[in-house]
């Protein structure tokens, strides 16, 4: 079990057997079920709440409103602006107003319908540009501008020979983790509460919960329950405070588990945005300047919007050398559903825009789009538009070359592609007997074409983003590692508060301990708040930061073991641990670890702090604001039925530098899965919001890529090694989600000749 091996997941056997306990599977004798009363209006004054009918309904134990919030009725990741339960105003459709606890979930649901809330409906502000107008109603005391990032880099009046402009619109994407928001709160009878919960960051939940519940942090203990995916959706609180309130009020354990429609209003989404770009280049295709205005709709509450807009702005130009940049990134409050973190975190929206612009520029110059990108590709030592110098590998050109050099996929079976990229069925290849596979055309099993009207398109995109938290945030993680003898054999327990969201962090932690401590029996114990913060399973940071903490704690344990061996055995220096034994520099067994340890428990806790980052200058956006950068490129090949508007993504090719593949199979899984989420936004995924109301809050109406939509992903994984990170690794999870969609859209443009300035297409 070592770093670099495709070790099987330790939680895998339980997951395939159906015995792994997710947060929605929790149950305890005598528990009640919680339900949420939600605002049916995107913007309304709450005049009164009458709970009498609900309280009188069978099986109901409690109905709670904002008056029952024991502490401060505010929470939020960056700005505490969101009420646990709405007070006098509901600011979005589906905002929580009251809570019910009952014996049976159906009793709770029906009682929630019996809670009479009197609203005075107001005109919702649902357009981000309108929210910016001087005369717009202020949705929060601070005004509607949540944050305005200004980046002023180089010559602000630079001019260029060739100029292209574009405006792009990005729809609202849902993380759609399959596991619903759910958890079980158990009162301890002494005023405190134990919450079993699926979250991305236990300690930030505790911080917000203790404030809202009016309890000291030690009275709010969190234990991680199985997480059915996250992708950003579990960064903010959903039902955590609600379940705790009901449990503390009733003195009974309370379970809450959202239905899928409720899940759509129960977590934040990827920001929709409007992005206006102007690129200037010389006649050789070298970028001279980029000007951009990015407006993201943050919705009703702040969530992580202020960090998302920083990312959208910092990485607005893509991984290119841009000597002069004028960027304005603005995120605003509206009465739309709140938006926040989703995989890619601001770098997804801007990638559609900067990559469309690069293709437009290539067309204006009569240049190959990949050649134009290569000419401007960022490399080590270059300076970003934020003034930060890129240290360590930045293989943008190599990634582009790798995807370009991949063999082009074959035409649909029985068909040919002519020089104009039209798909033709070969003579005699009609029908099933002729070798024609109709299901491989756009339209699939619907058999909508035999190839007529079908054109093939190829498109490229490259993107990048930061790894870890930025702008001076004190990003760190904590790990406790214990070594002891169990059943006559040495064993290691790794304990962190880090969230295993599916990415394979439990495997990686075990691999690191196995590598550092040379012990075969390594167990990663369940995450909880008895150990220090691990930070969030976000920003592609956990393998780096929590991995770094586990490595540091293991090194401390190892140092003590080696010191013990040297003291007790008067052994020479150069000792290390291998295969459960202390061995000499020449590999000779000096002493079995179990013998050396005896009853001793070696117990070490360490924090890992990566190098410091700095806040962006408020006027110029200049700073060393980011810890590490991660890059990926995609090539997409699509077939489009240009008569029916049907689209089939034939193949995605991708290349990514991961520094060091700690678990190669898991790296592939991140790249394939991340590419699928990117493809989803490009071609089908959008939360349809009309006048502040979500129109498609179900998996029937919100389309997710199925196995029929997802093409094969061919990949090159580079391991270039970052000299400053543990094992040289680089965050992996997000880059695939950034460039896959823009490559698909570029391919659709190539096939159809259409501008396509809005996604999903």
């Amino acid at each position: 079990m070592r770093v670099g091996e495709s070790v099987r997941r330790p939680d895998g056997p339980a997951k395939v057997a159906g015995t792994f306990v997710y947060s929605s599977d929790l149950n305890v004798e005598g528990m009640l079920w919680g339900a949420t009363v939600r605002s049916p209006h995107p913007y309304a004054r709450i005049v009164g709440v009458d709970a009498s009918a609900a309280l009188a309904a069978p099986g109901v134990h409690a109905v709670l409103t904002h008056r029952d919030v024991p502490g401060r009725n505010r929470y939020g990741l960056e700005i505490q602006d969101q009420p646990v339960l709405a007070e006098d105003v509901a600011r979005y459709w589906g905002e929580a107003v009251a809570l019910v606890a009952a014996d049976h979930p159906e009793q709770a649901r029906r009682a929630a319908q019996l809670v009479k809330v009197e609203y005075e409906v107001m005109q919702p502000l649902t357009d981000a540009e309108a929210a910016l107008r001087e005369d717009a109603p202020k949705l929060h005391p601070s005004g509607n501008v949540l944050r305005h990032i200004k980046i002023r880099h180089g010559d602000q009046s630079a001019s260029a020979d060739v100029v292209v402009k574009g405006e792009f619109e990005i729809g609202m994407q849902d993380q759609a983790p399959l596991g619903p928001e759910s958890g079980l709160a158990i009162p301890d009878g002494e005023g405190g509460v134990d919450l079993h919960i699926a979250t991305q960051w236990l300690h930030v939940d505790v911080e917000q919960l203790s404030r809202a519940l009016g309890l000291p942090p030690e009275k709010v203990r969190l234990t991680m329950a199985g997480i059915g995916g996250a992708f950003g959706a579990r960064e903010d609180l959903s039902m955590q405070a609600h379940a705790c309130m009901l449990a503390l009020h009733t003195g009974r354990p309370v379970k809450m588990s959202y239905s899928r429609p409720e899940s759509f209003v129960g977590h934040v989404h990827r920001h929709p945005g409007r992005l206006r770009y102007e690129h200037g280049a010389d006649r050789d295709g070298r970028l001279v300047y980029v000007k951009a205005r990015i407006v993201l709709d943050g919705g009703a509450y702040a969530s992580s919007s202020t960090a998302v807009i920083a990312n959208a702005s910092c990485f607005s130009c893509g991984p290119y050398r841009v000597p002069n940049a004028t960027i304005d990134g603005i995120v605003v409050y509206t009465n739309n559903p709140p938006c926040g973190a989703m995989r890619g975190f601001g770098s997804v929206q801007n990638c559609y825009a900067h990559e469309a612009q690069m293709d437009r520029l290539a067309a204006a110059l009569g240049m190959d789009p990949v050649e134009l990108r290569l000419r401007n590709a960022l490399q080590t030592g270059d300076t970003l538009i934020t003034g930060q110098r890129v240290e360590g590998p930045a293989p943008v050109a190599e990634l582009l070359r790798l995807v370009k050099e991949r063999p082009v996929p074959s035409p649909p079976r029985g068909a040919q592609i002519d020089s104009e990229q039209r798909v033709h069925t070969a003579a005699g290849a009609q029908g099933q007997g002729g070798g024609l596979d109709l299901t491989s055309f756009p339209g699939g099993v619907s058999n909508t074409t035999h190839g007529e009207g079908v054109k093939r398109g190829v498109g490229y995109a490259v993107g990048f983003k930061n790894v870890g938290y930025s702008e001076g945030f004190n990003d760190y993680s904590t790990a406790r590692v214990r070594m002891f003898v169990r059943n006559g054999r040495p064993a290691v327990e790794v304990h962190t508060a880090a969230a295993e969201v599916g990415q394979g962090l439990v495997t990686v932690q075990a691999q690191i301990a196995g590598t550092e401590l040379g012990v075969n029996d390594v167990v990663v114990v369940n995450a909880d708040t008895r150990v220090g913060s691990a930070g969030s399973s976000s920003a592609s940071r956990q393998t780096y930061i929590t991995g770094g903490a586990v490595k540091a704690a293991c090194e401390a344990v190892r140092d003590r073991v080696i010191a013990m061996a040297r003291a007790e055995l008067r052994a020479p220096s150069g000792l290390h641990i291998e295969n459960d034994n202390v061995v000499s520099g020449t590999g000779k067994v000096v002493v079995p670890l179990a013998t050396l340890l005896g009853d001793e428990v070696i117990d070490e806790t360490r924090e890992f702090h990566p190098s410091q980052t700095f806040p962006l200058d408020p006027e110029t956006g200049q700073a060393n604001a980011h810890l590490q950068f991660a890059f990926a490129a995609h090539r997409a090949v699509v077939d489009v039925d240009t008569e029916l508007g049907l689209l089939k993504v034939v193949e995605l090719a991708t290349a990514q530098d991961v520094g060091k593949a700690v678990n190669p199979q898991a790296v592939e899984g991140q790249i394939e899965g991340g590419s699928a989420q990117g493809l989803g936004l490009a071609v089908m995924e959008e939360i349809q919001v009309k006048d502040g109301v979500i129109r498609n809050a179900s998996f029937t109406d919100y389309l997710l890529p199925t196995i029929l939509d997802m093409p094969p992903v061919r990949m090159d994984v580079l391991e270039l090694g970052d000299p400053t990170s543990p094992y040289g690794l680089r965050g992996v999870g997000e880059p695939p989600t950034i460039s896959s969609g823009p490559a698909v859209i570029a391919a659709v443009r190539a096939a159809t000749g259409r501008a396509i300035d809005r996604v999903p297409v």
Binding site: P13, T19, Q665, M710
Partner: protein
């Protein structure tokens, strides 16, 4: 039908066989799905509650041998029937080959879709011993996975079907690792 008919009152009584074991539930509200009955009354949480609308396949079970979404079947309809859930596929302490294949192929990430996919794959391989890729895609089109992008799920089905040699490291076709530095 009113709230008086909720649990503990006049609900329905169900007797069925789940994974070969006779089970009974009393006081089941008429609106309860088989999924709810399996999970909350029989404690079999392996069938998952992702959409509860028949769109994602996470709650796939066999109902009298026929693949079904347990969320779309009323608890009352299960009376007198034989149900097999993901928990019933393997003998204790031993994984079914389909489960083993999902594990080895790296087809499990968060794992919330996995029980449904395991059941659906089991169904496919009962009908088609050596499915083509197109057959795999068609058979699993009703199972949504948000984590994997499906590549390793296809690998897992192939592995389970014995079409692919077992190797310690299964990889998407055409993938390469170019090790440099370090």
């Amino acid at each position: 039908m009113g709230l008086a008919r909720l649990p503990g009152r006049l609900g329905v009584k169900i007797a069925c066989t789940v994974n070969g074991v006779a089970r009974e539930a009393e006081g089941v509200w008429e609106g309860e799905s088989l999924l709810y009955v399996l999970r909350e009354r029989f404690g079999l949480y392996g069938s998952k509650n992702a959409c509860e609308q028949g769109e994602c396949g996470s709650c796939s079970v066999f109902l009298d041998g026929v693949l079904a979404c347990a969320c779309l079947v009323l608890g009352g309809q299960a009376d007198g029937r034989a149900i097999v859930t993901v928990e019933g596929l393997a003998r204790p302490q031993e994984l079914h080959p389909v489960q083993q294949a999902f594990l080895e192929a790296g087809a499990v990430q968060c794992g919330f879709c996995t029980p449904g996919l395991v059941v659906a794959t089991h169904d496919l391989l009962q009908r088609v011993r050596r499915p083509s890729e197109a057959q795999i895609r068609e058979a699993l089109a009703g199972n949504i996975c948000r984590c994997t992008g499906y590549a390793k799920i296809i690998d897992a089905v192939n592995l389970a079907a014995g079409l692919v040699e077992r190797s310690p490291r299964t990889r998407a076709a055409g993938s390469e690792f170019v090790g440099k530095g370090q």
